[in-house]
Symmetry: D2
Subunit: 345 residues, 4 copies
């Protein structure tokens, strides 16, 4: 195979990150996230939050980050609202339920849910005469970008936040691929907006060029207390926490995090444009680093000898929707090669 566009974690890590780890290897430091490098990384992130007094923690993985933040925020009888396609609802093997909480899924065509949907759901709950027999909506979970690469606008998030406030529900935003949302054309949601509009959000490392790791930014003061206990209990506290610190230090110095997002998104959009130019449609309109072309099965059979991609769904007897994913590591030449292998319709 010449190149695998299967996902954005097929390679290891951006070389600047690896270099930093190698360089720091023999430095003795504190453990469990109390080291100098994690402290510095926290400062670098805080400096980009527009003045928010947030707490920043580093956890190993995304599933952990989601379940830890959610379980820490809600009461036993509360659940978390999310899109039907939300990662916590579909691809975390019930990690949230394993902490005792129901995921309350709302229908979603494009991976997003709206303020109106959330409002209607919560209103119906409290209007029910038997409300206490029903799981109470206690939190809202979004992904930015979503599972299918779409992006919430600032206006959408402001509306959602308003509804969350109305029902005293924290708003948590899963940013596993957050950097890609910043690189979208006409992007209007950046770190200071997230710090202002969400109760907590994560800044994904794994899918943004790190070996692994997520930064969890807690903005709501009522959710900050004793958070390190939660992280330890859920298995998210790394003994050599400095490894997370060094990676986020590197990502948030000299604009690397944004640079990685720009590269991934630009290569993905080159694929999207190329596919459309060649006469094919896209299954979903993703402005980020995931592209969902609908291609003839016969062509896919040929393509698959040279390029990896993910099967998404069958469209009809002749055509499938598939997903191509780009990352910090995608060589532009491989995008060229991919497009050359797709003939004009």
């Amino acid at each position: 195979m010449r190149y695998n566009f299967m996902n954005d974690y097929n390679e290891c890590a951006h070389e600047r990150i690896l270099d930093a780890i190698v360089k720091a290897n023999r430095e003795q430091d504190n453990s469990y996230g109390l080291d100098t490098r994690s402290d510095h990384a926290r400062e670098l992130i805080l400096a980009q939050l527009g003045g928010a007094q947030s707490d920043v923690h580093f956890l190993v993985g995304g599933t952990q980050t989601n379940m830890t933040m959610i379980a820490a925020s809600i009461k036993p009888y509360q659940g978390v609202i999310c899109a039907e396609s939300g990662h916590i609802n579909t691809h975390e093997t019930g990690a949230v339920e394993a902490t005792g909480h129901k995921v309350l899924s709302l229908p979603s065509g494009d991976g997003k849910i709206s303020a109106d949907q959330i409002d209607a759901y919560a209103a119906a709950h409290y209007a029910d005469g038997n409300a206490e027999h029903i799981v109470q909506p206690g939190m809202v979970y979004l992904s930015q970008p979503t599972e299918v690469g779409t992006v919430y606008s600032k206006a959408e998030l402001e509306n959602i936040r308003r509804v969350c406030d109305k029902y005293s529900m924290p708003l948590y935003i899963d940013g596993a691929r957050l950097g890609n949302s910043f690189a979208v054309q006409n992007a209007d949601v950046f770190l200071p907006d997230l710090a202002r509009l969400s109760s907590a959000f994560s800044i994904g490392g794994t899918k943004m060029g790190a070996l692994f790791g997520e930064a969890l930014v807690i903005n709501d003061p009522t959710l900050k207390k004793d958070f390190r206990y939660h992280i330890k209990q859920r298995g998210g506290m790394l003994a050599k926490g400095r490894l997370l610190g060094i990676q986020f230090e590197t990502l948030f110095q000299n604009g690397l995090y944004d640079e990685i997002g720009r590269h991934a998104v630009s290569q993905a959009q080159r694929i999207a444009e190329g596919v459309k130019e060649r006469g094919y449609r896209l299954f979903a309109d993703s402005p980020t680093n995931q592209v969902f072309p609908i291609l003839p099965k016969s062509l896919l059979t040929t393509l698959s000898q040279e390029f990896g991609y993910a099967f998404w769904q069958e469209m009809d007897a002749e055509n499938d929707a598939v997903r191509f994913c780009t990352s910090w590591a995608t060589p532009p030449e491989m995008v060229d090669a991919l497009l050359r292998s797709i003939p004009y319709k």
Copy 2:
């Protein structure tokens, strides 16, 4: 108010049950379900299971019975399939999720799910290349009758059981109102069928004339071991367990359980017939003890001064669907009175 048709637990208990409790009051007996009366009740139930070698336990309530049986049957990464309208999915405040398990809900118009739906869901799970990122379907939950009073036929249960076997999923049937399903016209599912076709099922007492209590019948030998530990841990073991024993003894002697079902269903069907005769439609076609007429709001306002019922849903600006529920305690004269208060259209 002359009579409240709100639900089937508005009165306390059938007098024969109360009499038995009063009579036994000063008998000293063992505790926690190891008493002579519970033993006898177990024998009486076993004798009606068509020869099945089941274990019978008595628990206090339905939510407890459901969560205890489900949590005892599946692995941490497994969930339980049920109809979207299933009681565990809608009206138990996430009790199943509180034990760590996702409820996997399937769409359902009439409260039932089909063997084909279950088969398709399980097949899709195992066909997924990332199956281990997704909650595994580990059990099937049905209610007989369902939340909207419909009843599975023997053929339907046989098909479901076949699919359960295909995927090694236990089949659990919640019989909170089980006796009513036996009293349905053309009923073809009785206790021996449930013992043969389900891994476990409950025989509801609370809604069938008992003060409280559910009998849990475990047919699958692999689910029997140490079950009393589960009951104790989930809070379902009554110190004075004889209270459950005495009640189920009474219900399963001299045909009382069936008699209660027949009475409740016949009174409900009188309401259904009377409503149709008067020119009104029914929202759902329930052959059991719940009736769902669609009536003009103006008429409901008048009715509500004399009779209780449950609001179900608005149909249009002029009409609502409502629910009338009957029980062992419903006096036929009150059904007469209710029907007299509904004018011909």
Copy 3:
């Protein structure tokens, strides 16, 4: 057997309670604890709390009440301090752990723990440099009377409350046999003291003459919110909640609850005095309704043909400690008969 002193739930219920249930049988009422009888029972209990503005809920059983109150009060990373012999630590099949929380047990000779012990434990936790790797003490659980029948004095409870306040830990008191503590000679802790000194406490019905049921009194306003959701989720909400209401109405009218305690304690203390008079020692010094004589095995063999009791522990080759338990139902003649069967040493 002439009489079984095995425990205080060998008989069913005080006849006044049964009479009230029988009398109310056909009254139609609301369900799930929202009925008129539960409302009245709540008023009766509130009226005896010395002016406290507590919330009163009725749950079916003790294990449920304990796990529901504890799980509702603490954070995922917190545990509950209790005596090693505490019921939640020894005889609830890990119900508290099943809600995700560690039971933090402290050594105890007489079933009690002291303010100093609790203070030292909490102080050590917060002094530990790795505190977040350790379960945080988040609540204190006591029983009044304790598992071995001893009773906390007002001074002891005041000291414990002071320590709880110091570390912001709610204090929960399990009163499964609460009424017996009021009947103790020199008793100085009554309902108003419990309402003032505890964050929540239970008033046991099951072991105090009811068929079943515990009243849960929540004094701390921060623990009151949405509590009915907790009860429903943990399976403690009875459909025919009036059954709990009627029982507690009866217990808290005309002094029945106190009367039951006085009867049980006086009969037990007659046994204690009689045993000592006959030259035998007591294993524990319980002023309530449990008596722990140390008797020759040979004598026990004879006694056991006429009287039931619980084996407690072997003392030496010739003697065992055993437990005799009395209740509302214990006939004084049976105490006479028991004592007549124990010869002077």
Copy 4:
């Protein structure tokens, strides 16, 4: 500070591991542990198990590994037996309890528990007439080496395994520092013994020179099924799983894992010998990489300006027990320097 002996994860990773990661950086590979490097690492470990047909999984951290393996192995009403000082009992913030299970701790002077203790505990459980009111012992957890650096002999493990078989309890051995146990003088427990005697055991990477990571070896066939679901649900599945594969490949090639253990243990024992030679006692007799000298507080004040160590406990007004920890990274010169700073008594 010249050198920090605080713990064995003060530095990052053995350089051979880092080199391998750097070299493989741009190789595209599968994710979530299904990559070629993890496959190879599994083969390398399997080849050292003496022919056992075990399953090998790689997880990120120790707490995760412990809670995932334990929660996967036992039923809701079962608990896990461990030494009072066991890591799961003391330093994992109740992670096991958060999965719903009680930790059943046994007293232990030297970090070990004996076959006799376990046998007595389990026997007492099953002898109890109220066993189902008590958490059932369902598994045994040991650490090799223990929290205080002691090591189980083969005879001890064989006896424990015999007791585990008697009560059908899986035996799980936490090998966070496993390699150090192999380097002990007169060591007689090696990988094939662990594969034969335990149901599952972990091979720690974090404290043995890796950046992070634990290999989990499951020997008991009944515990193998669907284990990857468990790992994913508990947050232990790394997207770039190859990072774990590469590290364990490196550790299990050319004897690196053993080499690291030998280095750490030999440096620690040099400290132990030196301390004794200088006239000081050791608090515990650890033959592995942790040394617990009892030193004058005044001397410790001086030492602490040049060397890091962990405070263990106060012995008397003048002396403290402290812990020095060595690792793959400890330079022998620093041990020399440390010893030079400790004057002869």
